[in-house]
Point group: C3
Chain length 671, copies 3
Amino acid sequence: MFIGVDYYPEQWPRERWETDLKLMKELGINVIRISEFGWTLMEPEEGTYDFSLYDDAIKLITSYGMKVVLGTPTATPPAWLIQKYPEVLPADENGVTIGFGARRHYTVNSKTYHLLSKRIVEAMAKHYGDHPDVIGWQTDNEYGHEKSDRSYSEVDQEAFQEWLLQKYGSLEELNHRWGTVFWSQTYDNWSQIPVPRKVYQEHNPSLLLDFNRFCADAYTAYNRMQVETLREHIREDQFITHNFVYTGLAQDQKAIAEDLDFISFDNYPVWGGLAEPIKPAAIARQHDLCRGTKNGKGYWVMEELSGAQGWSQIGYLPRPGHLKLWTYQAIARGAEAIVYFRWRAARFGTEQFCHGILDHDGVPRRKYKEVKDVIDSLKRRGDDLIAADFPAEVGFYHDPENDWAWQIQPQSDQFDFIQEFLRFYEPAHALQVQGNIIRDDVDLSAYKVIVVPIYFLTKKGFNEKLEQFARQGGTVIFSYRTGVKDQDNVVSEKTLPGELSNMCGIEVHEYDSLRGSRSATVKGTAAPLEGLSAESSVWCDFIEPTEAEVLATYEDDEWFSGRAAITRNYVGRGQVYYIGTGVDRSMLLPLYEAIFKEAGIETTDTPEPVEMVTRVGDDVTYVTVLNHSVEESFDVKLPAGKWIDASNGEETFEGTLTLKPLQSIILESSN
Amino acid sequence: MFIGVDYYPEQWPRERWETDLKLMKELGINVIRISEFGWTLMEPEEGTYDFSLYDDAIKLITSYGMKVVLGTPTATPPAWLIQKYPEVLPADENGVTIGFGARRHYTVNSKTYHLLSKRIVEAMAKHYGDHPDVIGWQTDNEYGHEKSDRSYSEVDQEAFQEWLLQKYGSLEELNHRWGTVFWSQTYDNWSQIPVPRKVYQEHNPSLLLDFNRFCADAYTAYNRMQVETLREHIREDQFITHNFVYTGLAQDQKAIAEDLDFISFDNYPVWGGLAEPIKPAAIARQHDLCRGTKNGKGYWVMEELSGAQGWSQIGYLPRPGHLKLWTYQAIARGAEAIVYFRWRAARFGTEQFCHGILDHDGVPRRKYKEVKDVIDSLKRRGDDLIAADFPAEVGFYHDPENDWAWQIQPQSDQFDFIQEFLRFYEPAHALQVQGNIIRDDVDLSAYKVIVVPIYFLTKKGFNEKLEQFARQGGTVIFSYRTGVKDQDNVVSEKTLPGELSNMCGIEVHEYDSLRGSRSATVKGTAAPLEGLSAESSVWCDFIEPTEAEVLATYEDDEWFSGRAAITRNYVGRGQVYYIGTGVDRSMLLPLYEAIFKEAGIETTDTPEPVEMVTRVGDDVTYVTVLNHSVEESFDVKLPAGKWIDASNGEETFEGTLTLKPLQSIILESSN
Amino acid sequence: MFIGVDYYPEQWPRERWETDLKLMKELGINVIRISEFGWTLMEPEEGTYDFSLYDDAIKLITSYGMKVVLGTPTATPPAWLIQKYPEVLPADENGVTIGFGARRHYTVNSKTYHLLSKRIVEAMAKHYGDHPDVIGWQTDNEYGHEKSDRSYSEVDQEAFQEWLLQKYGSLEELNHRWGTVFWSQTYDNWSQIPVPRKVYQEHNPSLLLDFNRFCADAYTAYNRMQVETLREHIREDQFITHNFVYTGLAQDQKAIAEDLDFISFDNYPVWGGLAEPIKPAAIARQHDLCRGTKNGKGYWVMEELSGAQGWSQIGYLPRPGHLKLWTYQAIARGAEAIVYFRWRAARFGTEQFCHGILDHDGVPRRKYKEVKDVIDSLKRRGDDLIAADFPAEVGFYHDPENDWAWQIQPQSDQFDFIQEFLRFYEPAHALQVQGNIIRDDVDLSAYKVIVVPIYFLTKKGFNEKLEQFARQGGTVIFSYRTGVKDQDNVVSEKTLPGELSNMCGIEVHEYDSLRGSRSATVKGTAAPLEGLSAESSVWCDFIEPTEAEVLATYEDDEWFSGRAAITRNYVGRGQVYYIGTGVDRSMLLPLYEAIFKEAGIETTDTPEPVEMVTRVGDDVTYVTVLNHSVEESFDVKLPAGKWIDASNGEETFEGTLTLKPLQSIILESSN
């Protein structure tokens, strides 16, 4: 498998290159990503190209037997470009221009910028498109990151109007579907439609949702332009990818990915603003998103954290063990190559405090040794492991349009999309039940259980698909605020949960937003929840069962008490659960356990910070066992049979395995 | 009496109209407000008018025997208007233009906007001014709401300069009264005077106060233009009103009201940003403000909340009982008509989550039944009740200019104008002592006690009026920071409390702003406070009595201890109290009780969340009893005699009445 | 010595002037500062000068035998100037123009503003440059205050580009030293370089540091223009000064001071935003900064707080005793003149609530008496005291460029430059060990101990100087994050602490930013810390001793435990301490005590809020003893011998002195 580093030869004296490459070689590195911020080097003035620095670097790299991934440098348009074409600069909601001085200072809607980008991409493609050791390309860098996903300049406004014209064809249609009759917003000319700049109060939610779609499409189109430009000139076996971030951007990674050979991901479990790493399930969710982006296809981690990160603020220092742990987790969940960010911390520039395998002084130490240990440990079975299947009997529905709809209307100040998604994802993770994150286009029959959390913005076709899935014996889990909106971000005219009402066997006539520190108490009233009691937050749907069975009710409230909070409905041969409130883990975990049991999915009882991931190869089954705790050791009960340490094929385990803090191990067993 | 709904026929398919009207009819509705956001419908392009939709709607409405109130649609200028006349858009303190996309996107200082508004109002007035079932008009909608009260564009700047010229006549006068000699701000040309855009540090407080007055006058003038335009064309018996909000805007509701037949109010005890309803006294204060706006004249609640409210954030769900409770409270305190907002929740647009009597699915349920119950219960005595007197022996002074002066200089970070006004209002409310909120123009002799809270910006004439009132036997209650400023927002040259010093029999030589979590301890030293001890916050005036008697002193402080905190002075036949610190309720309640007792005002001892409001008709006295608690029942001691349930004339109560949570009842007794 | 007031005759009726001056005379005042905001009075229209008001005021002042200090009025450019030359207005990071309406509304980079300033300064200098009672001049007022230190207009951008051209000579050099190869920021034209306006993410730290230097230089140049203009026309014995603020501005007070005869300082231990005064050591630090600005030369307090302060928010009321305490502290630490701000609180303008010796009513009361007591008490020995030496054996290194570097990259959200400087300054203050705040230009041999806190941005020459100092027997104390950066704000290529590594006898291979509420535990492992345990915050350097001895280690952490936190190294005849974490006072105090003991510096054990300052005159030694506590009395052990109350030469003290809350006293003893 490919294990590499992100390297910036332009940032170091040429005298140092040889030292770096020797050290990389000793480490076991076999691929290097370069050039993604090198525009001024490659095109020092408009139309003049100079690839000599990267030519030299690549020559040296390949002399050490390593391969190269090239990044197109469009995330950082040069000073000369901005000076000559200032119209490419983006603007914020107040109309303030985002200036030159950092990165991503372009609006993806600028036709000028498309042309200028195409030229540099084309020049690179012509120059390197046939290079034997250039194995692939990364387009741009982290599309949309740092708020660059939404721009509000006049260029953007015109592009938005054009996009709307394409989508709606007529203003009558747009006015009707947006409900512009509300507040007298009817448009009689496309040029009247604003981008959502500062207003008193708030914009029309239908406009806002379309603005998000428009922003996403703009990036898809921009990336497609790069991909098509590359494809014209590069060898067929050079791959094209892009390194995504997955944080609620106005971006559709899946749509962009259709033009890519595979996707890449930048994996930072802790960043500059964080006092400690995000939760294991939160990292796992990101990998599942990656794996789901091209429906199960493996992906690269193009930037894998290798030290403390940050710009002007530095985050938590990853402890010894974290690098292996997070690398193993990435591979176990679907990454087929790992590229560490970065080889060495830069001495200058905004990212001075993005620490790498080496720190500023360039001396290999603890982190170097840890990476070496990781690479060595993967030599024996790495290639086989990444080729093995990731079995999954559960699907988690995730759709960026639904995320945007929630961003537009969070409805409760306790609501956070990722946290709430995790609320309904984490219990499966804790039970070591593997799932895929899916869109509406997948074949549901591959799954036993589909979890559809906070399914606010619905898709008609998917609603029908879910019902069919249930009828045929599947289990569906819905949460509060299901079925509220259609694709125009308009509220359903049907009684909630709208189109899902029949399937759930319930109606929701009333609901309460839990704001501030408000919470509710939920009591289990029927198996499997009988006798349980838990707190809930964020939201309460008060459920009226029409067909469904009540599993839990609200209590301790003058008016809520006795109203249904969680229900189960039998539909055909299947079951549909509705969890009407943000109930906490103490009730969700037993509920999920029972649901999985009934659905015939095996669960595993492990201590909370321990994660186990199973991959099934042709001959061998792999179980990666990860202890995410920095402080505690845990005894983990292994699946039946004998397990061998996959790193050396020697040590054998059976029954219980004791994992020290941050210890991680890949085990194998013959099928 | 009129009980109605806010209805938006344009937002629903015509096929639904008949269903809606049948349901309204069954509910007992007799009036409907329409059209206040319907500009593009009525003037789809400049100068072309089309009233067909509202004609049809009104025809149907009147066929059900209901009356219509029309809103002029100027809160939502159309897209074509903004595109053609972008100069009508307002700007914020940074000069950022507030764009099209929500509502209230106009500056009231635009002469262009005056002309365009006049045209649509005139067209409506000509069309509907003689309609037999159109009983009245609402101008625009919620003037100044959502920060639209203050705009900082160049248009505003020119208008401000013109306003100042009218006010001051000469720059010499302005320079003198503003004290522009401070920091070399002397103007030698009107065109130099800024609107208070972003500066380092802060603007001149005299300019800031005048800017607030200017903003208020601009709205008064704008409304007058609409009223005069309407009056030219409409039948004399069609009323003209406006639905106000009362939240510290740069607006003078009383001045605007002079041009209106009566005022209206939008009553939302809980809104999108709130986890729970505001306190009963806070709601009561708003009704008292309404009743005071035209010196006791009844008003309409043009929007009475009928469900959970919010834009992108949804607030607390009103519990069963809240609708009746808040309706009864409104009527008891002076509302003579109730229009529920809104008939049905909109499926699209920014206010999707403003829930109505019906929710999005249009099915009548709990809220419909509750409103029906309210309407039924008012049939027997509603008309008589709203005609009955609201007896009041206490006046609370409230003046928006004083509010603005505090907004400009809050002086302590603990200070909030409404909270501090409530500090000195709530004890009377708790003691069921009825009061009117007054300005300086009223006849004080109608009252026994005048409370003048946080009277920072003084009016010379009112100062004299208060002294005369006291001399003639009245009681006056002042608070900390009394008498500091004159009408130019300039500090008094006299020793504090300035012009009120003699009357209070005290001087204030020193004071301390209590910031952060600082507080002080106050100890009662003479009757009626002897033996009491309380915390105070926000501010400490250290009082030097000249004539006054000390009732309480500061303690537990190296330097404060023993300094007077609360005093009483005898002036002629009356008494003047000075409460020099933000002392808490535990001391204010007994103080107010003693003051009222001495002034011959009856107080009633009720549990805290219970409110009783008395109205005295020609033959019958009404007592509305409200339990604001969501959780607790209370036994309430009724006034002497037999009381009958006014909703049915049947049930009789005497002595003690037990109120369940959120229960409310109107009782009657023959005079 | 000079003791005076800041007086604004223009703000009061002429009839009042005589009253004021009589009261001042009785107070003992001998100098008055005037005119620093009087531009429109002196130049009511462009090119027309009128000094009559100040002529009259000065005539009256001098008739009372007092002297005058004149302020040039350039902090408040008039309305006519801004209207005619709007290009002088500054802009914020978003490009929003800072408007007219407050003060400091000019960018110091405007050549137009230089010309206009020069003209008014020249006119004043010609008019008053030979006045016998004008003893000196203050240029402008509080340069850079209220965020006026950094402006981002186009004028600023051009000036920045010019400044960079002067500094670097070539773009090659600039590109190289800024590392613009990072993120493709290479400039090929000076006009491409931005001022750091809004960007996605963050600007290049090297650009940011240079922008701070540029801003500082711009003020230095602006002040020099004023000084040179004055010097051409004024009498040689008229001094020129400027009243500085010391709060992390992009300003180099020391550089500006080179053009001044002495510096001045505005001393506000409590301000509008503060619920209580800053800590005694924090005030002391500011005085030490003042004294250090011209290497020990005495300074004026040009504004000494005399009442509660604030603009729209009022701060804590100074208690009786505070005025004397803070005046004595100022004089003891180096002030040689005190001018109280302000004579009387203004009735109008933004600073209405800056209270003075008199309040708005103009009646002399407590504060007047307190100031009189201060002045009387200084008559006997004031002149001798201010001439006495301030002995200091400790130097604290402080460099604004290092402060700016930290502002650009605070690295931990717990980091605050002043608080962290105080962490390593306060223990000396608590031990009554006197020190000077120094730059790299001083002769270190005058000191026994040099404290170099948070020495992030290093100077090569100073590094060498420190090593030499240590070799020759001196003691150096470093803190965490030492030696990270060079003068280009580029990270050292050497292993940390970079150039200081040898000297400290350590290496730092890893470090952890403690964010949020994270902390670490440190345990003393060798004398003088053995047995001690303390919490630390902000940052942890994990130290690898190469030569140094370990004094304390981290504990209670899976991975930290046992790593060195505090070390001592012997270098030549000296010692070098490295304190690798933000350890709290409970460990720093004994550490400093031991270090001082070993260095032969006497420490004094006093209760915490007590400060003692020693001054050594030709014949007499003075000890000023200050009890900063508002609540507690303390027994203070005096230095050996008999001590006399310097205010009267009568009372004698020996052994222990009991100080009441806020009591302060100056004692003397013959040498």
